[in-house]
Symmetry: C2
Subunit: 225 residues, 2 copies
């Protein structure tokens, strides 16, 4: 089994401190919502985000969307060998059922996640597809989800070829946990080396989250499926 | 070098025959556009598309968007080993410069492609990033782009492990061309076996275009880079 955690993803409702910014107020009016009911999105709210701490990093539901489209449509997931968890900068954790057929449309995805933040779950006819839990920091989450071997991906980690790396784990390990950063720049806020067995770099430049996810998935499938 | 063609992608302006449909007219009004200046999108125009031939297959710029985000952010592309071409149901061909940093926001992507259909190119300060040519059918396109070995992907092809398959090509072939379907269901409208060297299935169920692209890219990188 492969568990993939998108860690410190930039998913949050519009913070209190900028809700009265004119651009936020007008954007909310257009959508017939209150500012506090809307996800922060740097595409739409960059003006208001200029005075927000770490403003250039925050408000990136688009990364979560493409990441989820990548992992949920993977062969590993169709084969039921994948668990997907999204962790946010505010230590919310979103558990994504493997049968979730995520909307391709970005606007509808935003609506879905806004509902999730409000109601804490998204049910379907048969079962709960998305579930949100608060107050779960990354240490606690990794402790709960940990596999036989746990890897964090970072451009500052040890350079490895993933295919050979997974080959070397095979036999010894059944369950592998992979931690991928869900932010557009910079590094984890926590010391990832303290909570995983190895910090790995698969390329000497920064990669987007869904590229790291693809590399993990395809190489995992090649070796373990 | 790897060339990836997204073939028969469902990218087209709203067809003449449904431009006067009330839902299209009101959607155009909201965006301050004419119906003929808008991309067909099943997310927004499904009502008007009910009477369109092959309506359940058409209007999927979202597939092209996620496909392009996947391939342009791949290691193969960063290493300058990738050529990306998008072919549409109406035999337009879009050449995508490898340095294109595609917008993550779907609404803005739609605007970009609408501009491309109107002006035939999207320039940046330094060079043309996207270029559209008309009247180029898939035979002509494959003839122009063909590599030492040319593969089409289809669930009806021969079952292959891509990692072993690419290993077997290495040494003999430098340039590989891969044809991936850009439609959400069904099969190519042309006989793909007549224009490529092999028709390959990497999984016994249908996969979305960006999953096939990921499998191709990661396995190509593992073997050829």
């Amino acid at each position: 089994m492969l568990t993939v955690i998108l860690a410190e993803s930039e998913l949050e409702m519009i913070p209190e401190s900028i809700r009265s910014h004119p651009s936020i107020v007008s954007s909310a009016k257009k959508q017939n919502k209150k500012p506090g009911e809307m996800l922060l999105d740097s595409n739409y709210h960059h003006k208001a985000m200029e005075n927000l701490s770490e403003g250039s990093r925050r408000g990136r539901p688009d990364i979560v969307h493409v990441f989820l489209l990548t992992v949920l449509e993977s062969i590993a997931n169709i084969e039921d060998k994948l668990k997907v968890v999204v962790h946010t900068r505010n230590d919310e954790v979103i558990y994504v059922d493997s049968e979730t057929r995520l909307m391709r449309n970005y606007g509808r995805f935003l609506g879905l996640i806004e509902q999730l933040f409000k109601k804490r779950k998204v049910p379907s006819e048969k079962k709960t597809l998305l579930k949100l839990q608060e107050d779960k920091n990354i240490n606690k989450l990794v402790e709960e989800e940990k596999g036989d071997f746990n890897i964090a991906f970072s451009p500052y980690g040890k350079q490895r070829s993933l295919s050979r790396y997974f080959e070397s784990l095979k036999g010894e390990c059944e369950d592998v946990l992979c931690l991928i950063g869900g932010f557009p720049e910079g590094d984890f806020h926590f010391d990832e080396s303290k909570i995983v067995d190895d910090v790995v770099s698969i390329y000497d430049k920064e990669l987007v989250a869904w590229t790291v996810a693809s590399e993990v998935l395809v190489n995992y499938e090649n070796v373990f499926l």
